[in-house]
Amino acid sequence: MNVLISGGCKNGKSTFARNIALRLAGDGKRYYVATMIPCDDEDRARIARHVADRAGLGFETLELGRKVERCLELADPGATFLVDSVTALLLNEMYPGGHGAGVDPDAVDRCAAGLLKVAAGAGNAVFVSDYIYSDAVRYDSFTEKYRADLAFVDKALANVCDVVIEVCAGNVLVHKGEWEP
């Protein structure tokens, strides 16, 4: 089963996603696909905390900031994969030469294709994205393009996922499929 989870920031998406992944995995193997590439010590400290949080839950961590579909080769593809997050993955794919280098115009297609491969090939996959589409801000063209691209990837995932969930201030809205909290 594939599940897409989105919503605003800091409202429980990752915790909720982790619980869904645990339920889907049952006694089977579960992998945490970490897509954030740390830029400084603050990032590294946060990542270390997250790794410790997950340790007791039996997740093995795969750090894949780009080409996320490699998780299917690095691990047992029949397992459960928690991909956190689509947002960070797209950003990394936009800068294949590292942040600060040139932007790759094909990033959005590559990112979507990689995620769809994971959805098609994994035993179970849970994808976490961010809902960044409902504010009264006129963004610069780069940010606006990023928003449009992330929405493209979100919609592609929503189309193939069995369950699509929005987490809103810790509450759960099921937009597609069925999920008993």
Partner: protein, 125 residues
């Protein structure tokens, strides 16, 4: 009237075409210039019209109310720009609130209200 709201790029316009058989050529797309055709089969990007209103001391809800007969059978589309953090800039604050008030009025008038999320339709009314 059918009202479709939701975030940017969530598939609102595509849904209007698919669900309500709106032809592309019959959609009026608002820009910041204040032009609007209330009698269109479908009006998209109403948040652009509300931005013009705010910049020109006009109340978008009043303007819609005054032309109610023309859009009563239409499909109206607006981005829900009113969900984020309260902006520091006064114009953005006014824009956000004017758009929210207009959507609340239109929701009351609508036969159906749909919110789009990642391309999926959620029936609100």
């Amino acid at each position: 009237m059918e009202l479709i709201i939701g975030g940017a790029y969530q598939g609102k316009r595509e849904y209007a075409k698919r669900r309500f058989s709106v032809e592309e050529g019959r959609i009026f797309t608002c820009r910041e210039d204040g032009e609007i055709d209330f009698s269109s089969r479908c009006i998209d990007r109403i948040e652009e019209f509300t931005l013009w209103c705010v910049r020109n001391d006009a109340d978008p809800a009043e303007l819609f109310r005054a032309h109610r007969d023309q859009w009563r059978g239409s499909v109206l589309i607006c981005t829900d720009i009113f969900c984020g953090v309260v902006p520091l800039e006064a114009e953005a604050r006014a824009w956000r609130e004017a758009t929210a008030r207009l959507c609340a009025y239109l929701s009351g008038e609508a036969a159906g209200v749909t919110r789009m999320f990642c391309g999926l339709a959620q029936k609100l009314k």
